[in-house]
Amino acid sequence: MPDDVPIIRMGQNLLVTLQGNLEDTTVEQIERAVTREVARTRATGVLVDVNGLSMVDSFVARVIARLVAMVRLLGAQATIVGLQPAVAITLVELGVPMAHVRTALNAEQGMARLRGSHDELVD
């Protein structure tokens, strides 16, 4: 992934799309870009769309969990959307700690959840 990490601003929320293969260098770029953008826009929610990731292993899973933690530290809420069935099984089997990561089926539902109107029921 080049310097231009695709981050789209939607009102008070940001949509980050992760695609292809994640490597050490791209992960750093993504973390830098996302944290900077959250701080700059004072976003309240970040949607991380992982549907386009070609492979999710424990490394990528930890990257996702880390990104979520950074967003939380900046005072925003993060939600992972678009996780594939095989990926979900892999993550559970690998035992990657994802308990505190919020999830949604798709960007639309993720946005709705970020608005936080039915948190009590969902989490």
């Binding site: 996780l83 594939q84 099984i89 999830t103 089926l105 109107s117 969902v122």
Partner: protein, 399 residues
Amino acid sequence: MGYGGVGVSAELSYYQQMIDSITEHEVIRLDDKGVVCSWHPGAERLTRYAADEIIGRPLSVFYTEEDMVANRMEQELRTAAELGRCETEGWRVRKDGTRFWATVTLTPIRDGHGTLVGYVKIARDLTERREQLLAAQAVEQMLDAITDYEVIRLDKDGYVRSWSSGARRLKQYTEEEVLGHHMSMFYTEEDARAGLADRELSAAVRDGRFETEGWRMRKDGSRFWANVTLSPIRDETQEVIGFVKVARDLSERREQEQLVQRQRDEILELSTPVIQVWDKVLVLPVIGTLDSLRAARLTEGLLERIALNQAEVVILDISGVPAIDTDVAQHLLKTVEAARLMGSVSILSGVRPETAQAIVHLGIELGNLRSRNSLRDALQLALQIVGAGVAAEREPVNA
């Protein structure tokens, strides 16, 4: 020393020495009546008689009783005299009475006027070679008796060198139709073109044995699923001189395996149905015992349906599961977590009192698992969640 004719001249002595040096054959002279006139170490070695015991006795002492009764000696001498040569193979008897399988050549000796004065007899012990031959024939017969397997010999380049009844039965070719042909004639067109036969032979040489399964062709063009084993044959210098190929037809077994697999798939499919009961709400009634295969299949099927229907809520109804052990409980919780990672909420339903006790006694971490006693309650909660989602989407409009 000297057996028989004492050296009249140096030339004769040389001949005698030459004959004395022959140890693998018996080379002796007989008179015109078949009486032994000369002897040498090779003859002694073969029949165990010393020169003084045998010279002057008739050739018939070497014959078996049956052959003597049948006048074989006279017949053979007459044939030799008439045709100039008589070659026979048969049992002969040693001094100690033991038998050996001999090949015997009788040639007449004539004087300057053409008068018969005697015979030269050359004999050799072929007992061992005969046994080897019989053993080889026995092996051949044995291989031929194996009708369920094809057991054939190939040369080092994969050309067919022997054929068997099993091979004939399997591939329908007769011996004449395949001997000298390359083994690739039994392969499918694609396999033959891809040089599969040569690769398999190389693998057999490299690993000392090669076993494979695949499609092979019969003479009539039909295919069968074959199990094939190739083993190299090596000579004393370890050089590969050919291969033994054993093949059998596994078509029937393969079909049965596929049938069983298909049925198993169908049963799994039937036993883990996912039902959409409401927009974005799925119910998975788990019925019967959950083994690891079924459990994995269940999770897979459920997650795929979540992605397909974009289901927000999944109800896992376990009222039809007879017993919950650690493995099953762990698996259900993993399914719940995987569904959550995809963005779906799970509700466990149909937990019976004893099941509740068992799960807690097993010490399984429940996390923030939602659970309801009945499917009805679970469905109510599900609708509440989905309904709340709808309300949430409307909210900004109203606000």
